[in-house]
Symmetry: C3
Subunit: 332 residues, 3 copies
Amino acid sequence: MRHDHLITSKQLSRADIETVLDRAAEIDADPEAVADRHANALLGLLFFEPSTRTKMSFETAMKRLGGDVVDMGSVESSSVKKGETLADTVRVIEGYTDALVLRHPKQGAAAMASEFVDVPLLNAGDGAGHHPTQTLLDLYTIQENAGLDDLTIGIMGDLKYGRTVHSLAYALTNFDTRQHFISPESLQLPREVVYDLHQQGEDTQIREHDALEPVLSSLDVLYVTRIQRERFPDEEEYQKVAGEYQIDTETLEAASDELTVMHPLPRVDEIAPEIDDTDYAAYFEQAHNAVPVRMALLDLFLRDHGTGTGTRTGAATATADAANGDGGEADE
Amino acid sequence: MRHDHLITSKQLSRADIETVLDRAAEIDADPEAVADRHANALLGLLFFEPSTRTKMSFETAMKRLGGDVVDMGSVESSSVKKGETLADTVRVIEGYTDALVLRHPKQGAAAMASEFVDVPLLNAGDGAGHHPTQTLLDLYTIQENAGLDDLTIGIMGDLKYGRTVHSLAYALTNFDTRQHFISPESLQLPREVVYDLHQQGEDTQIREHDALEPVLSSLDVLYVTRIQRERFPDEEEYQKVAGEYQIDTETLEAASDELTVMHPLPRVDEIAPEIDDTDYAAYFEQAHNAVPVRMALLDLFLRDHGTGTGTRTGAATATADAANGDGGEADE
Amino acid sequence: MRHDHLITSKQLSRADIETVLDRAAEIDADPEAVADRHANALLGLLFFEPSTRTKMSFETAMKRLGGDVVDMGSVESSSVKKGETLADTVRVIEGYTDALVLRHPKQGAAAMASEFVDVPLLNAGDGAGHHPTQTLLDLYTIQENAGLDDLTIGIMGDLKYGRTVHSLAYALTNFDTRQHFISPESLQLPREVVYDLHQQGEDTQIREHDALEPVLSSLDVLYVTRIQRERFPDEEEYQKVAGEYQIDTETLEAASDELTVMHPLPRVDEIAPEIDDTDYAAYFEQAHNAVPVRMALLDLFLRDHGTGTGTRTGAATATADAANGDGGEADE
């Protein structure tokens, strides 16, 4: 993999993805082999938005590689309150660390920030933009459970604001997949995302639905996302819509026995707890896969870096989406 | 010690307690011997309530064993805000770490959470419920200063809401102790606690008092707790009550020269600073004992775990108090 | 260097300063040589005020020495909220760690706290008081860029509230310097600071100005500080004053080609981004120098400490300024 930074799943070729997933599988099989690989390396954590899972699993991944982290802490306790620009913040902190992980509410923030730093910067979510490390752990989970080629996947819930979903859908166009998108009309995939998916993937079939039932039996994987209350003008409307996109054991009676149910978590009511102990459920495994996949990424991006230095690693420059929209889903 | 989790001091036999205290004493005598014992092990810190001492001393203990921690951070910066259940949160985070420490405002939370995880879970306080690691460091301090058998102890202050006090009193019933409880009537031990203490300890004598003076001279240990302002309907009532349960050098004129004064800290006005440099004062020592005692506990619970894995350690299941009450003292 | 604690730059002799800067230069030249020097040592971080840079760079420094940190976290999540005194807090936490770093809003806090602890305590800013580690990294940056003797320095911006400025000005009196202070009249150096500077430094020349232009061409170093909005009664007044003390490439046309521009960061509008890529700019280098300089300080203060113990290091007691004023700049 020859990238300076990881900004979007769009920058990843099929070969890049396979490199990451293979490395993650190696690490998963023998974590002790890398337990000291990046001893003395420091990862800077810059989370401008709340996060539990992404932050903790990056921290875990770095520590499982023998390294350590330095955490900027919350925005409230930082210089950001004093009006410092993101460019200045990352330029200061790159001087402390060997790589940076950035979560930021503004779309395009990671691409912009990466232009100011020489150490690898990994995008951990930029508003409605991208969340490529989530995509890679999703792909890893799909590969482990159903395989990535000749795959029929259903992606259900909030498809409008879900950066997790957009990133995953783009990445899957590298493989031979049939993608079914299931959502209420008000939360459909944005038209430009549909257009892009059609452009990218020759072998990709895209279908949109407003109900799960017609496609359920054909699915290898059902990827469920949270429908966020705050997207709806009133509670009543939310309850009506949310209720139609929840699954329980009854829902799954029509599914294949081989179906894998995934969810980026946290869930609220989308998946009934009774599913948790069935063979369908892969969402906790998916959450745990964050560690080997982020270990693989850190290992790949730190690979060419000497210990304790901040010299540039790769050759190519990240293809970065520098769009400027705000908002987006805090999907984790 | 054969427990999967540490939920309450009630689950600990006298032999269990002695195992922990002996290990703590060994560690205290030669901390270097264990400085790398749990290298590569990770402890997950889940504090759903503020804490300084408990959290910092667990973190210190893990690091003094060569391991490291991964901290969920405050509830405000976590997925809990998005409506995630405690069961989901612990199931995700156990996948990152080799053991968990949980502080939660709801009584019974630790017992409930422990049912969902395979790694050892240590209760660091569950509302008005239990705080067994505090109890063990209290016992260690008593043992070092006065011995645990043939002990006369006075426990003074807020005995109604103080989980520290209830946990300690239960644990002391494993030993030959005379326990004097000194408090204003409105903050007496709950009747069910008194009942339980009588049931448990054959060799335990329980007495309740509304003043320190009648028993002071007989005490080997005086354990003082904070009377919390927020327990009182008005400031005047608080000032009146709090003032009667404060100690200074004048108060202690009637005490034995061998008296050991303890306090779980933080203190406000319960113990005058003039006591700090006397031989009575053991409360800073008590605070520092948090490190060897929590090191001993982590060492015992991580003992049978391979590095970096999450396989189950012990045999027996924790006897857990799954009561559902809220509130309780944030005693640290 | 023979000090128990580092409280103020006033306590540092020229020899002390040279010891720190020499050690920092050694570390900068070969960071790997010290990568495990303080393995197993723990540094306690007590930040009672927000900070990004100071805290992160101390954490980085400790980890680059092979050690680790234990962080009290924000005041909101700590026992301080329960009314604990600073003296109690530091006495508890010194029992966990091998050294302490303290940032506190009250002037004199570090000096007071240091009287209660046996481990080395480093002042990371006490209100309008002192910030000696910032001063040392400023001196290091000056030495690397312009040399510390026969130096002409301009210090511009908020000179009234800036503890960074006062600490630096005092420290520079140990060297042969000409100091020009440039500020609006309302933000001039306090008269007692001017008096003290005259008293201390035989070889120091002090001049005050209300504009940069007359002195710019003579400067080896221009040290710019932030003018804080909150110091002004109304926005209009702030805008007027702030605008006069901003620099851009046009401003610098009259400067020497050898001029070094410094800033403690964060900046808001004081230095135009167009300066960033010129040879004048040393402020990001200055920020990065925080790591080797703080590594040098930690190394010197931990030097005589056994691993994992809390025994006292030096001989002399810190000359501490126990003044009691509040407020002051959170200049980081």
